[in-house]
Symmetry: C2
Subunit: 231 residues, 2 copies
């Protein structure tokens, strides 16, 4: 299959840049999460809840990955956080190089937390390490509880799976217990939280999960560093 | 950007096999539709409605594309139609080569209509012609009405966009008029139909659309050809 050669040719140089990104984040004391999901699972809506939940203690920055346009960036700039739009063109995922300058700039702007919203895609983003601390994925109740078995790579990659649109549980066939069992089957030990971005239920737990991860890394709030040097 | 070279290297050989597939379908009088959508938009559920709606007049065959497993194939085999499972491994889309033998086999089995369910992905499958007569895409109401602007390639490729999960309209922010306007903006003249696979509303119109396309091609029911020779 040609796919193997193509991926190897892309993944090796990506891994090198991902290592640079990880070193940059460590040096500058920045925590970064890579948010991934299918299109329309609620990544931007989650950010609209999580940013206010974190901003009293952290300077949050956002990297928005989209094939085209800046609709999500425009939504989030209303929250007063620095947002970097990355347009991937025909590419179906962010890669480490695409986010490299954004990570530099957000660190220079004094951010200690960077939330990266990947392109909506349950397949390819799973293979491209961005150098982030945590891969966090969303699964919408409307997508069905069979997804962990059908897209196992993404569920294996994620530190945390957030089951979103819990408010639609009564109107879909989604089997939460079966979904959780399937997630634990493909990825034993994966974190699983449920949320409704429509009602706000579950946001506190997600913010607490992120706070624990930020604290574990030793990242913390800092003043904006106008003198920051881009390395 | 490396992406350009990679895609060109994959798309040219794909186009050659897609031409072979298209010639095969024409020679054998088979109509084929390529169903694409994000994960969990309802492709398999749609097939569960459309197969019974077509089977009195047609011999329908199915090609099921999934990264792994055969859960959807198992669901559809209950309908008594021949189903070919294609597992793509880490690949995020079907390509023309992957479906080539399945198209041969289904033509040999006397099918005059082949419905291909692609891997759930709103990005990459749009670039890989399978040799099908129509690209048909689904958009679930739960995914949001901003998708045509964010994933324009897929909407441009589709002959028909099916807006599914209409039963969730009252529980989401989906703006149907805005979605239709955005679809017509990125693809003037695209066919648009709405459906609820949960209630069955709209299935007749989709079956009628397919019937018209099948008739336009001159495909039609035939007896199973046990003597079919694989070319």
């Amino acid at each position: 299959m040609h796919e193997v050669d193509v991926r190897a040719g892309l993944l090796e140089p990506n891994a090198a840049v991902a290592r640079e990104n990880r070193a940059l984040l460590a040096t500058r004391g920045v925590y970064a999460a890579n948010l991934m999901s299918a299109p329309g699972s609620g990544k931007t809506s989650l950010l609209e809840h999580v940013i206010p939940a974190l901003e009293s203690r952290h300077r949050v920055g956002v990297v928005e990955g989209d094939m085209t346009g800046r609709a999500d960036a425009d939504r989030l700039e209303g929250f007063g956080v620095p947002v970097h739009q990355v347009n991937t063109g025909a590419a179906c995922h962010l890669d480490a190089r695409m986010v490299h300058h954004a990570l530099h700039d957000l660190a220079d702007a004094g951010c200690d937390v960077v939330l990266i919203e990947n392109v909506g895609n349950l397949v390819c983003p799973a293979e491209f390490d961005l150098g982030e601390d945590d891969a966090v994925m969303l699964l919408s109740v409307a997508e069905g509880s069979d997804k962990p078995k059908k897209y196992p790579l993404m569920f294996r990659r994620a530190s945390l799976v957030i089951v979103n649109k819990l408010d639609l549980l009564d109107r879909t066939d989604f089997d939460l217990a079966a979904a959780v069992a399937a997630m634990r089957d493909v990825h034993p030990g994966v974190g699983i939280l449920t949320v409704s971005c429509r009602t706000g239920e579950g946001i506190e737990e997600i913010a607490a999960w992120l706070e624990a991860r930020i604290a574990a890394k030793g990242a913390g709030p800092r003043a904006a560093a106008g003198t920051g040097v881009r390395g």
